[in-house]
């Protein structure tokens, strides 16, 4: 038995499939690909499949990871090819290899965010204001949280969760490249960041595209 980590992308129509559904889809995909899966022991044996860091519905990604355990000596390349032959549109295995990092050590994610506005003026206004706000000391947003068992809205300072950012504007399009807190303890969704800024500026985008590019570990290495 050996552990294998598969890096896959989620694009196009597949971005509307939830994390839970991707899980189910992959369970079927490994059956179709006839991978020699290792099964858990016990009353209800099932193949071992685990995912790193869920992705929000509607976002694309080049850095999805799935760990599986296999028996026998099927090569990484064969696993990749067999799976790719049987995956739905928008899901594609990019690479296969032995796991290096522990998913618990993920601390940040890099995103490319494309924000399209109705007009050029709106875009440049947003760009300018966003730059200013993200340079500041405080950018407060409300996030659903818990106090004991009660659900409450918590005030959080997003600045604490922005590690890197670069914002540019061409025409009515704003491009934001950023590295934001991600992982089990802290998490900042780029959509929340964009919407918080928009609320401050008082404008709203026409279309928003988010691509998760890389996961970063606490030692500042690229997760793989």
């Amino acid at each position: 038995m050996r552990s294998v980590r598969l890096n896959f992308s989620k694009t196009g129509r597949a971005i509307y499939i939830s994390h839970l559904d991707v899980n189910r889809m992959m369970t079927r995909a490994v059956r179709r690909a006839q991978l020699p899966m290792w099964y858990t022991e016990g009353f209800n044996p099932h193949p071992y499949i685990a995912f790193a860091l869920p992705l929000s519905l509607g976002q694309s990604s080049d850095c999805e990871y799935m760990d599986i355990r296999i028996e026998g000596d099927m090569t990484d390349e064969e696993i990749r090819q067999r799976l790719n032959a049987t995956l739905p549109e928008g899901i594609s295995i990019l690479s296969v290899g032995a796991p290096v990092h522990d998913a618990k050590d993920i601390s940040a994610a890099q995103y490319f965010v494309k924000i399209i506005f109705e007009t050029d003026a709106e875009a440049s206004l947003f760009c300018e204001k966003a730059d200013e706000l993200m340079k500041g000391a405080e950018l407060i947003a409300e996030k659903p949280g818990k106090k004991g068992h009660r659900k409450i809205m918590k005030q959080v300072n997003l600045i604490d969760f922005i590690f890197e950012r670069k914002i540019t504007c061409t025409g009515n399009v704003v491009n934001l490249q950023c590295s934001l807190a991600a992982g089990n303890t802290n998490n900042l969704n780029p959509t929340l960041l964009v919407e918080t800024i928009e609320n401050c500026v008082g404008i709203h985008h026409k279309q928003l595209y988010v691509v998760r590019k890389k996961l970063i570990t606490k030692n500042n290495e690229i997760f793989r």
Partner: protein
């Protein structure tokens, strides 16, 4: 492929995965290379529609052709509809994301009467005029099939062509005809004239209906090229019928998410209340080898780990035991469950039961349908109390403590004693549990009784019967509740309003098209969903149209009355149905078709052949 407009609203609705397509095994073609584009519409949500076998079959039939492309369309949920209307996004087809209104053919499957309002809603969302007469062009042609096409009259103002019976061959022919007439530049009328001549098609506009003063039909006259009676189509050889090699594997969870294999069509039982049992006659079996081969293929291409062998009465499949024995070899190895819905377990070997998913379900189900032997005889439900008892014995011995029993109330000839009989039968099951020495220890028994309301349907021996009024049904429901004396029995009943509406539409005539439109305009849709059904709106619609729904639901018809579906021919003869009706009133049973052919007449559609006789 999805337009920006669609993309924008997708993230504002629940479960957007329902609206995007792109699932494994869905078919994408180059639209410029096909002659006919077919939008197959299921008038309910994605989760329900994607569970439906007929759609999968017809999807293959069309997409197997190089010159045609079939895509899927489902009813958007309310939140999505709101966004679509607000942002002016017309209904699109999942595969291409293209507008439904631009398709050559728009086909609906009518699985239940209470989905009729959804058909109107979907046409409207697509931007297609509701009424056939308001669509003068050759395309789009709006067609409809499925079991409710057997009395399509209430929908006849909206639909250009109905497809009667098995859809495999008629769908293929329809595509060819549309192609031919599109290429020839025919008018819609030319096309309809051609279609109407072929078996399995019914063009309602080619029939004139006249009424008597009392509201009954005085005459139905065929005109143009239409035959006097439109005959249903049947697939003669199930082994040769098109069956998908691949199922679309939904990316999100749907109701039935598994491989489905159809083992035979039709039924030998002749339960008098059951429309399916008559509509799909004569019985035609698929051979076990073909079933197994299809299952294997489908498992490989889908990755599913469950196979459901489906039919109207699984135990009647002559090849069942050999099929299961052969299949279990590989399904066990590949960790695949076999499910057998509508299986009677009382005469099933213990060894096989153990290996099957039937026994792994948390509760065992059984359908005696009526509470007393007298009434079971009247409805020709061939189940005795001993059958029920031997089934539950097996279940209890196997460790089950929950049993689910299905009944109907409001059956013709039913008395309050028959209703109380349901509770008594439930009680006997409870007693049986405590009588058994080897019952599961330390646990109580739970008997769930589901009592739905009977709705008389066309092409059954009960097509002339008055449906119980809502007051009668309510009284019977109360009587049933009162007859139960233990907490170990749980009763669930259905709302009588829903059954009433179902009954009206099931045996309605063309005058109801107006009512359906009015009800839809008042906001009726998803009528089969209890939380969305608006009885008050439907009643307002009847009021405004000046039509009394009671006329359709609660009236007894004479045998010689012209029924709204009499000009359709589903094989079973009226004489046979009358005979069965009379026998019901005398509580006389009819043996099933393998014991003795009852002469229903359906075999005439299959060149005189009936598998009940040749495979007895």
């Amino acid at each position: 492929m999805l337009s920006e407009k669609i993309q924008k609203i997708l993230l504002e609705v629940q479960k957007p995965g329902r609206y995007v397509g792109g699932e494994l095994n869905s078919v994408v073609k180059d639209k410029d290379s096909v002659a006919v584009r077919y939008a197959f519409c299921f008038p309910d949500t994605y989760e329900i529609g994607m569970s439906h076998l007929g759609m999968k079959i017809l999807y293959s039939v069309v997409n197997n052709r190089d010159d045609a492309w079939c895509e899927r369309v489902f009813a958007p949920d309310n939140d999505m509809e709101e966004k679509m209307r607000e942002q002016n996004v017309p209904l699109w087809a999942l595969e291409s994301g293209d507008d439904v209104k631009d398709f050559d053919l728009i086909g609906f499957t009518l699985q239940y009467e209470l989905s009729f309002s959804n058909v109107l809603n979907m046409l409207d969302l697509a931007g297609v005029p509701l009424y056939s007469k308001d669509r003068p062009d050759m395309t789009p042609i709006v067609v409809a099939g499925g079991p409710c096409a057997c009395n399509a009259e209430p929908m006849s103002d909206f639909i250009d062509v109905f497809m009667l019976g098995d859809g495999e061959e008629t769908t293929d022919l329809l595509i060819s005809l549309v192609k031919k007439h599109k290429e020839a530049g025919s008018s819609k009328l030319d096309f309809l004239r051609d279609v109407a001549q072929h078996k399995g098609f019914y063009v309602p506009a080619f029939y004139d209906v006249e009424y008597n003063a009392d509201g009954t039909i005085s005459s139905v006259t065929a005109k143009e090229t239409a035959p006097e009676k439109a005959e249903k189509a049947i697939v003669s050889d199930m082994d040769k019928a098109v069956y998908p090699e691949k199922f679309i594997v939904p990316s999100i969870e749907v109701v039935h998410d598994r491989v489905t294999a159809e083992i035979f069509r039709g039924c030998i039982r002749g339960c008098r209340f059951c429309q399916a049992g008559f509509l799909y006659r004569p019985i035609r079996e698929k051979s076990p080898e073909v079933v197994e081969e299809q299952c294997k293929k489908l498992c490989e291409t889908s990755g599913y780990d469950e196979i459901s062998l489906c039919s109207l009465s699984t135990s009647d499949y002559t090849g069942l035991q050999p099929l299961l024995n052969s299949m279990l070899d590989w399904t066990t190895k590949d960790k695949i469950n076999i499910a057998l819905p509508s299986l009677r377990v009382d005469n099933f070997s213990d060894e096989l039961m153990e290996k099957l998913a039937v026994v792994r379900r948390s509760s065992l189900t059984f359908a005696p349908e009526a509470g007393t032997q007298r009434l079971r005889d009247a409805i020709n439900k061939n189940v005795t109390e001993e059958d029920v008892m031997s089934t539950v014995d097996k279940a209890f011995a196997g460790g089950w403590t929950a049993v689910k029993l299905y009944f109907m109330i409001g059956l013709p000839t039913e008395t309050l004693d028959d209703v109380a009989g349901i509770a008594q039968l439930g009680q006997k099951v409870v007693d049986e549990f405590y009588r058994l020495p080897d019952r599961p220890k330390g646990k109580g028994v739970q008997v769930s009784i589901s009592a739905s309301s009977f709705v008389p349907k066309p092409f059954t021996p009960f097509q002339w019967e008055p449906q119980d009024t809502q007051e009668m049904l309510a009284e019977k429901q109360e009587h049933l509740m009162a007859s139960v004396t233990t907490k170990k029995i749980k009763i669930s009943t259905h709302t009588t309003q829903t059954s009433f509406m179902e009954g009206v539409l099931a045996r309605g005539d063309r005058r109801l098209s107006k009512v359906i439109e009015l009800a839809w305009r008042k906001g009726c849709k998803f009528d089969s969903w209890d939380d969305q059904f608006r009885y008050d709106k439907w009643m307002e619609a009847f009021e405004e149209a000046g039509i009394d729904p009671v006329f359709y639901a609660n009236r007894r018809r004479d045998y010689d009355e012209i029924l709204p579906w009499d000009h359709l021919d589903y094989g079973v003869s009226k004489t046979f149905l009358i005979n069965e009706n009379k026998k019901a009133h005398e509580s006389v049973t009819t043996p099933h078709c393998r014991i003795k052919c009852a002469g229903c007449g359906a075999n005439k559609l299959n060149g005189g052949k009936c598998d009940a006789l040749s495979k007895a």
